[in-house]
């Protein structure tokens, strides 16, 4: 900690309040807190998310130059906005010159008058939501939507996003620039969708947040089992959304789902970093704080559902996750309730992954033979590259005492997984089954 000062004067007081000379990390932390609102307001102002981000970045560079000497300003958001606004005015002047030179009107540059941002302060929250809709625009691929959302709403650097998605920084940089260009080219607008379109677009946003979470939760190619940074970002996005769209049950459901799943993050690996399956997890390591938040979000979703708001796959998955969270010991799990929820989920969002999970639930609720019936009904071609079906089959066969077949199933699962930690878990189970067979 820095030395206490007794000097007066604003700069000195700011420093005293900061307690120390702000480091680059402190400046970045302050900037990140403001970046979504900043980029959103600048997008409203310029009509172009790429330009908005450039202006926000300029403001960040200015902050990195000045704050380490001057201290972090009392209101960093206002400071950044003023700085960015000054750059925006330059931008508009350049655009105006360009427009005079060229007969062609570029879209988004029609109104070159600088809008009065101070009058728009009340819209900041709506603008962040508009920014999310824009980042998750249907013109973009899901991967690009995720990257752009993390960049512009989450305030992450390209390096951080590239690390999260395990791709080279240069290709992530290209993906993000391409996405921004695509938005410009497709004429995507900074807007608030209404009516039926709103629900559809909202569903796209939820899907992106969920994608970010699952990417972090089950790393498919990394030696690591999970990458919690992405999970954490996704939870933050879900919490932001729940505040911005408090009237939709599925938004709260997604928050509930992510909080509940994340509560188990640290129990999913043992001290050697090896994966631990749900039923074997030390439930004392589950994060009770997150479970409580998840339950509260689920209760809000239920309340909204009661007043007629639609619920769907996130609600059902959250309800399933809550059933697990409520079981103090694995053997207390209400598998019949979970099997019922999977039946509904299979109707609402049919797909082979749900069916595999339904097979697990049936196996626990009604016995391994019942689980195998569900599993056998899944077309062989579906999930051919996934270790999930054979791994579940191996588990059900083990419990039926069919150890030879179980060992084969676990070996088949180990052969297709691309996750090293998962492979060693499956190989261990195959060996155990082979031992039990002899």
């Amino acid at each position: 900690m820095g030395e206490p000062t007794d000097s007066t004067g604003d700069a000195a007081r700011a420093k005293a309040a900061a307690g120390h000379e702000p480091t680059r990390a402190a400046v970045t932390a302050a900037w990140r807190r403001e970046s979504a609102a900043l980029v959103a307001a600048l997008t409203r102002m310029t009509g172009d998310v790429g330009v908005a981000e450039d202006l926000a970045q300029d403001a960040l560079v200015a902050a990195l130059e000045q704050w380490p000497h001057d201290g972090i300003p009392g209101s960093p958001g206002a400071w950044l906005m003023t700085t960015a606004k000054r750059r925006a005015i330059d931008f508009f002047r350049r655009a105006e010159t360009l427009r005079r030179r060229s007969a062609e009107l570029g879209h988004g540059l029609e109104g070159t008058e600088v809008p009065d941002l101070d009058a728009q302060v009340d819209h900041i929250e709506d603008d962040v939501l508009r920014l999310m809709f824009l980042c998750c625009h249907p013109a973009l691929t899901p991967d690009s939507r995720a990257a752009l959302t993390l960049r512009l709403v989450g305030g992450l650097t390209t390096t951080e996003i590239a690390r999260g998605f395990l791709v080279a920084e240069t290709s992530m940089g290209r993906r993000i620039s391409r996405a921004k260009r695509m938005l410009s080219d497709s004429g995507a607008r900074f807007e608030m969708p209404t009516g039926a379109e709103r629900l559809q677009r909202l569903d796209d946003v939820l899907a992106v947040v969920y994608l970010v979470f699952t990417e972090g939760y089950a790393a498919t190619t990394d030696a690591q089992w999970t990458r919690p940074d992405l999970c954490h970002e996704a939870i933050r996005l879900a919490r932001i959304l729940a505040r911005l769209v408090p009237d939709e049950a599925e938004v709260h459901s997604l928050q509930a789902l992510l909080e509940l799943q994340a509560s188990r993050l640290h129990a999913r690996t043992d001290s050697d970093g090896r994966p631990v399956l749900l039923e074997a997890q030390d439930r004392r390591r589950w994060d009770r704080l997150l479970i409580r938040r998840g339950e509260a979000a689920l209760a809000r979703a239920e309340q909204l559902a009661g007043s007629g708001r639609p619920v769907g796959r996130y609600y059902l998955q959250a309800a399933i996750a809550a059933e697990h969270a409520r079981a103090v010991h694995a053997e207390n799990t209400d598998w019949r309730a979970i099997a019922r929820l999977y039946d509904v989920l299979a109707g609402a969002a049919p797909g082979p992954v749900i069916e595999v999970n339904r097979a697990v639930a049936y196996g626990r609720a009604f016995g391994p033979a019942a689980g195998l019936v569900v599993l056998d009904a899944i077309p062989a071609a579906a999930l051919a590259r996934s270790p999930m079906p054979p791994a579940v089959r191996g588990d059900l066969l083990t419990r039926l005492g069919r150890h030879v077949e179980a060992a084969d199933a676990f070996r088949a699962a180990a052969a297709v997984t691309t996750n090293r930690a998962e492979r060693s878990l499956l190989e261990r189970r195959a060996e155990q089954a082979a031992v039990d067979a002899s």
Binding site: R13, A17, A18, G19, T23, A25, A26, T28, A29, A30, R32, R33, A36, I72, G74, E125, D229, H232, I235, R236, L237, A238, R239, I240, R243, L244, L265, H266, A267, R284, R285, W286, D287, L289, R293
Partner: protein, 126 residues
């Protein structure tokens, strides 16, 4: 990672200025909206406190108020942040709000990392 932010001050019989209360409310709203703030709480005066002290295997209890204490925890916030710098920034804002809206205030804002199942405090965190 989770941090607990404490607000500490001498126990005085003075209401905080309305401007501070309002500014703190706005700050909290922003914290919840950004997904950072998990929980906040203000603590009652020490006249509502009971302390059990253990010394040499003996337990004695004392009821508040504790007039001799120089500083007491008056409130706390649990925050969910990406890194230490972000926790520090949150605490700094809290301090800044007091400095701006209650210039006479003499107290401290402290950010402490909460040890979870995943993360224990290490020596280097001190």
């Amino acid at each position: 990672m989770h941090y607990m932010v404490f607000v500490k001050m001498a126990e005085v019989d003075v209401e905080p200025p309305a401007a501070l209360v309002e500014a703190m409310g706005a700050e909290m709203e922003r914290g919840f909206a950004s997904g950072t703030l998990i929980q906040v709480g203000g603590l009652y005066a020490t006249s509502y406190r009971t302390e059990f002290r253990v010394r040499a295997g003996e337990t004695t209890s004392t009821d508040g108020p504790f007039t001799e204490a120089k500083e007491e925890v008056g409130g706390f916030a649990i925050i969910d942040v990406r890194d230490h710098a972000e926790a520090v920034e949150n605490a700094r804002r809290m301090a800044e709000l007091h400095a701006t809206h209650w210039p006479d205030w003499d107290g401290a804002v402290e950010a402490r990392r909460i040890s979870g199942p995943d993360e224990g405090p290490s020596a280097s965190d001190a």
